[in-house]
């Protein structure tokens, strides 16, 4: 009898232990999340020099998280920080690179328990606004304006980092706009010219389909991939203001505007006509399932952020010669400017925690991420730092940069612009548009209802 009770208790404990992970996920388990590994990250400043420094003698330690985990980029950041420490030996910087998804979780937990690192990246937009409103990040306006440092940056990047007339972050990593990237060979074999208008694009798609090639390659498990088609269509059909008005609830803006409906209808029309590869809603962009179609010539083009060039450079360099780029075509009768782009001018902005003991020092550290050497290294790695007058060796990146510089408007990715709750809803609903499980009207109504609810 008592044995039975004992075994029951034992089982209960086992169940409790098995379910404990939930508790750990939900709770702010503070301490566990902030340990940096100083061993691997201490800077190479000569130890003897620290006493000779004119500073207050006390070492200031800064913690720095970033998500540039690819080998070259991680080294690039470490080099920048090493230069900073070499010039300012009274600082010590703990650099901790981490994976994108893990970072998001970790940062949320750290911010919630006020243990965030001194310097950390984000994508501006909705989350940055939340950090600013919660008083988690420092206002950098003063430092940015000092000696006209701010003039070095592309204005579009600074405007993305600005909220309520204050600059909250520094745009550093990359200018990334979505464009059509295509397989030149496939276009040539099928006699296709670069489409100037949506009608051209659809004519090209028909031709490709007849040849048994999927016109567009898409991996939409990732959701933001399909969203790019939607954002461009909305922009070209309704102009740049439609979305901004709907999102900010200004000028009678609504997610039920005609442009959203038309964009949704166009996407579903394309899906029904088979313009996308099979099974796109189950494919994963991060594991390269859409690029594989492009490489093999089973698909002709893909609408993707310009980082694809650097991805292909490291993944399949032989394909680069065969890769072409053109901007999203104009829509006949649409209100949008055909030069307008969708993307981000900064893509990884760095903010400084308002809890940081030495904000000025941290800012100085940040400037080393864009010193001459760092800019050169970034360009060499196929990135476009969001600063004026960058010279690029790669002609395709130069094309992207020219198009982006000429753009009269730039729309930040919806899922980054919107508050996280709306952003996620947009991604879910746009996937449903592609999956034909919801009509454009239903999607609009859901978005509008949520926007109205959040606006209160």
């Amino acid at each position: 009898m008592s044995r039975k009770v004992m075994s029951k208790i034992a089982l209960l404990v086992i169940i409790a232990m098995l379910t404990a992970i939930l508790g750990a996920c939900g709770g702010d388990t503070g301490g566990t999340t902030t340990t940096a590994a100083p061993g691997e990250t201490t800077t190479k400043a000569p130890d003897g020099s620290e006493t000779t420094d004119a500073g207050n003698g006390e070492k200031v330690t800064l913690s720095f998280w970033h998500i540039q985990t690819q080998e070259k980029q991680a080294k690039l950041i470490q080099d920048s920080i090493d230069r900073f420490v070499a010039d300012n030996p009274n600082y010590e910087v703990e650099v901790e690179p981490m994976q994108n998804d893990a970072f998001k979780t970790k940062l949320t937990v750290a911010l919630g328990s006020n243990t965030q690192p001194d310097i950390f990246p984000h994508w501006s937009g909705g989350p940055m606004i939340e950090y600013a409103e919660a008083g988690k990040i420092a206002d950098l306006t003063e430092y940015m304006n000092k000696d006209g440092y701010v003039d070095m940056f592309m204005p579009a990047g600074i405007s993305q980092a600005t909220y309520q007339d204050k600059i909250w972050a520094m745009p550093v990593e990359n200018l990334a706009v979505a464009m059509f990237f295509y397989n030149k060979q496939v276009f040539a074999d099928n006699g296709i010219e670069i489409p100037e208008t949506l009608a051209d694009l659809e004519a090209a798609a028909e031709k490709l389909k007849a040849a048994g090639i999927a016109p567009f390659s898409l991996a939409n498990k990732t959701k933001w991939t399909g969203s790019m088609y939607y954002m461009y269509l909305v922009d070209r059909i309704g102009g740049a203001d439609v979305f901004a008005n709907a999102a900010t609830r200004q000028n009678d803006g609504t997610f039920e505007a005609e442009a959203f409906t038309k964009a949704g209808e166009k996407i579903q029309e394309w899906v029904n006509k088979g313009y996308f590869n099979e099974g796109f809603n189950g494919l994963d962009e991060d594991s390269g399932q859409s690029r594989a179609l492009l490489y093999s010539g089973q698909a002709a083009m893909t609408l993707m952020g310009s980082w694809i060039v650097s991805t292909i450079t490291s993944e399949n360099p032989d394909f680069l010669d065969n890769l072409g780029v053109f901007p999203f075509p104009a829509v006949e009768g649409g209100k949008g400017d055909p030069s307008g782009t969708v993307g981000t001018v900064g893509d990884n902005f760095y903010s400084i925690s308002s809890e940081c003991a030495d904000i000025e020092g941290a800012f100085t550290a940040l400037t080393y991420l864009l010193d001459e050497q760092a800019i050169k290294d970034r360009v060499a790695d196929g990135k476009i730092p969001p600063i004026n007058g960058v010279q690029l060796e790669n002609p395709m990146m130069q094309t992207v940069l020219d198009l982006a510089t000429k753009a009269k408007t730039n729309q930040l990715w919806y899922d980054q612009y919107l508050v996280p709750e709306m952003g996620d809803l947009h991604k879910d609903t746009s996937q449903e548009l592609f999956g034909l499980t919801k009509t454009p009207e239903e999607v609009n109504a859901i978005m509008e209802a949520k926007a109205a609810e959040l606006a209160g």
Partner: protein, 300 residues
């Protein structure tokens, strides 16, 4: 310890208990901090409206719980979870048992199978997720070419809302069958050899030994396996997250992925904690009820 514990404890016994308590303290501290406190904290957070970032947590009482009760997405996730439970138990346990029986009767000759069949359990879920993502790829995977060879069309599994969940369940089973195989194998080898020999001498076939003797004797092992599988399936997260992220159209959403989405993606830590707490309650009660029903059957 001695079953007849009515007598007063000797001083030696008392000192043993004291020492044991001392040695258990670290374990209890760890459990207390990382388990009981976290669980308690989840419940506390389920009563607030909090984005996980801001210093202000607004106490909203049971509003989150009310929302949860009316939340169609959560109900869908719960339903999906129960599908995973049912298929996991129906697929994993019988196959695991058969493999275990085969290994048990085949003896040393089958050691190579023991190793091979155990491999899936050693791989990380993320690696398995990626592996099967490629296997299921409708253009380059393994399934579609097979189908084309047989004159069919390309098959899209993960992108099809009505098939995606089953596609993932198959992978989950592939991953966990080895666990139950080893579990049952341990159970089978703990049965006395004499019983087996006696049965064979009495003229029983191996199949009859298995169904009439081994299975009934493994009843408790089996019950524990069912409960393990149930709890595991109810809190399942990794493969879904890697392979579908709950999509397309929510067709593979589970409670755990929904919790993660709320707490960390849409920054609704309060509501995410509500989902976590609800999961805790649902899993605990489902397990208790199942345990009771199955034990009662065993009591005769």
């Amino acid at each position: 310890m001695s079953p007849a514990s009515t007598r007063s404890l000797s001083s030696r016994q008392r000192s043993i208990i004291g020492t044991a308590a001392l040695f258990l303290i670290p374990a209890f501290v760890v459990l207390g901090v990382y388990m009981f406190y976290s669980i308690f904290d989840s419940f506390r957070l389920s009563l607030v409206d909090w984005n996980g970032v801001s210093p202000d947590k607004t106490f909203v009482g049971l509003a989150n719980w009310q929302e949860l009760i009316g939340d169609a997405r959560f109900r869908l996730a719960l339903l999906n979870n129960f599908k995973v439970v049912i298929f996991s138990i129906l697929i994993q346990l019988p196959i695991g048992m058969l493999l275990a029986f085969f290994l048990d009767t085949a003896g040393k000759k089958a050691n190579v199978f023991k190793v091979i069949w155990f491999l899936p359990l050693l791989m990380s879920s993320v690696a398995i997720g990626f592996l099967f993502k490629y296997i299921y790829d409708p253009a380059f995977g393994l399934i579609s070419p097979l189908s084309r060879m047989l004159g069919g069309k390309n098959i899209d599994l993960l992108g099809n809302p009505s098939l995606a969940l089953f596609a993932v369940i198959i992978v989950i089973c592939w991953q966990f069958i080895p666990f139950y195989m080893v579990y049952f194998l341990a159970g089978l080898s703990s049965l006395p050899v004499e019983i087996y020999e006696a049965a064979i001498i009495d003229g029983a076939t191996r199949a009859r030994y298995f169904t009439a003797i081994a299975l009934p004797m493994l009843k408790n092992t089996f019950i524990n396996a069912v409960i393990l599988s149930m709890v595991g399936s109810l809190k399942y997260f990794d493969l879904i997250y890697v392979m579908t992220e709950g999509g397309p159209s929510g067709s593979t959403e589970l409670m755990a992925t929904y919790m993660f989405k709320n707490a960390f993606t849409t920054m609704r830590m309060g509501y995410g904690s509500t989902v976590a707490s609800a999961m805790f309650l649902i899993i605990t009660f489902t397990s208790l009820i199942t345990m009771n029903i199955m034990r009662r059957g065993g009591d005769k």
